[in-house]
Symmetry: D2
Subunit: 200 residues, 4 copies
């Protein structure tokens, strides 16, 4: 296989990329001028070298110069009373956009499928428990399970409620109900059930 | 225009029907056997004769034999403490499916667009106010505005809160948040804002 | 079941209509004023009384006053040299819109599924053969099989070619190739094969 | 901006990639093990070094070791009598899959928008004309304009017919008609017009 076809194969491994788009990517990078490829390589190397997991929340962050914490964990204006648990790094972006949360985060690293025999291996359980102990000394009062409203998300919330109980913390889940733009006539019965239970 | 084309035109007036489907309907009804057309006409006439607005909630109901109320309004096991307001008859089906609501309904008959100068003409305001007075004598305590999470729905809720205030009633709206199946990563910022505010 | 629910059930039998739209139709017809229902019934009855199969092409047509033929079959300016075979009445509308065909039609009444043991029962075979004999006396020279580019359409074309051969007629099928708006990059291999074979 | 955000920005430049997928790509490449990043960089460099335009058809090809022509242009079993013109490299893949074409290709490098004042700058016109002169000595008889059935594609075909006329070559375009899977009832009028004109 020549190097161009090998490049197509590598792009096929990218998340959500099919054969046609992989080929388009290969054409794209090969036909850019040399500075583009050079930049991409340099940026990727820089990122690989400087990016690492935040010591506290475990999300990827710039650790250049021996920095230990991400900007949010290091920010003294962010409350340490609330800890919000998310499944993966990319979930954080949307929650920050909402502007509604002023506490700190922890990235679980995954969700727990139904019937999983060893749920603790699917999430960063040991890191989570030790962060909670640390944060309790800083005033931690509540944990928000910000997981998707799917079977896996609900299963994970249930497991987390179990391992986090009896620690003197309030445990919350995201409110369920009508999402923005939903019409009553087309809402599913479970969503309406939550919308009625959670009426405001 | 011949009678077949006239039939196509009449089906075009049905909600959500384009020219192609209207033509398919016309072929469908014309090629059924005679008993189908006869049945349709008889059923439609029966429905027109027997169906009318429920005296209380204003939804369409079978009023054969001088019945004044729909099954829900006439049901003594449905609580009169909660009154749930919906925009249109078809919204009721989904809410009943949720099994979460045991009170009674009122059909507003529409939503109020932004900037409407005469909002009272868009909804059955006089009927609503007189039903509320009647229900207060039966123990009415709370009103649930079960309107779509859209601009029109929110505008209508705001107007209703205004005209229903100072009547000694609690006013609720449907809970907002993640709808069933939603993933955090793809939720819009406003929905996450509500989901965080309404955490449980 | 009350008459309204019976009406919903009848609309569910309409082609392509689900439970929600059936209910919306029932609300629609019941809440129109009386003249709408009256008009619909009258138009449907008129259509049922006056519409029948054209003696020649078998499509539904206005047969009021003992008319035997549809407008196209009765039109002396339409060529009798070409006979275009379609699967169903509604296919005719799109072909007439193209403005490209000036001959006459025959409605087969269906397509023949793969592996059908008695293909002659799926189409109006006897009517087709007798129309062809009649048209040959009027100068019929070619037959165009205007069937969908699907497995059933191709199977039907193959069967028709077999039963129509050795009658001194040219048999054509619709040209295959790129449809309007198609891009080469996204076209399937079979379509490109036809597009290359049928290059102009 | 830190190097991770810069990486996200670079992926945003990839064709068809939005902000969310760009971020997912950045997470993906940064969290792979080191050999993945190393491989990607090496493969990209190799491809950049070895890939270049085929001297004849101008598509990207492996030019390692001073090779001048792509595999198709260098293949003595591919006919030199037919030259097929495509807009871009990726169009070739689908045409080869059809197995219908055994001649050689030329990549125009673009399509000509309507009202373009300098159409010759949008395509590799000089290269095309000199390749045609070369191929005529090798027996070139026909040119196939394999362009999309869009406004731009048709405009480009029209321009090419103009500049290629009077050269003793037959000029073809891809056949137009029903694409595989199309149903007559849903075909647009123009496609049916072509399907009838190009009946077989």
């Amino acid at each position: 296989m020549d190097s161009f076809e090998k490049l197509v194969q590598m792009f096929r491994e990218f998340p959500g990329i099919g054969p046609r788009q992989a080929r388009r990517f290969a054409f794209f990078v090969v036909t850019r001028n040399d500075s583009f490829a050079h930049d991409l390589l340099k940026t990727l190397n820089n990122a690989k070298e400087t990016v690492g997991e935040c010591n506290d929340c475990k999300r990827l962050t710039d650790k250049k110069g021996g920095v230990a914490l991400c900007k949010i964990c290091a920010d003294p204006t962010r409350s340490k009373k609330e800890l919000l648990l998310i499944a993966k790094d990319t979930d954080l972006v949307q929650i920050e956009k909402s502007g509604e949360f002023k506490g700190s985060y922890f990235v679980l690293g995954g969700l727990i499928p139904l019937l999983e025999r060893e749920p603790s291996r699917r999430i960063r359980q040991a890191h989570l428990l030790s962060l909670i102990e640390k944060r309790k000394k800083e005033g931690l009062e509540e944990i928000i399970l910000a997981l998707s409203a799917t079977n896996e998300g609900e299963n994970t919330s249930e497991y987390l409620r179990e391992i986090l109980k009896d620690r003197g913390l309030k445990i919350f889940e995201l409110g369920r109900g009508l999402s923005t733009g939903s019409e009553v006539e087309y809402a599913d019965a479970e969503t309406l059930k939550f919308a009625l239970k959670n009426k405001k």
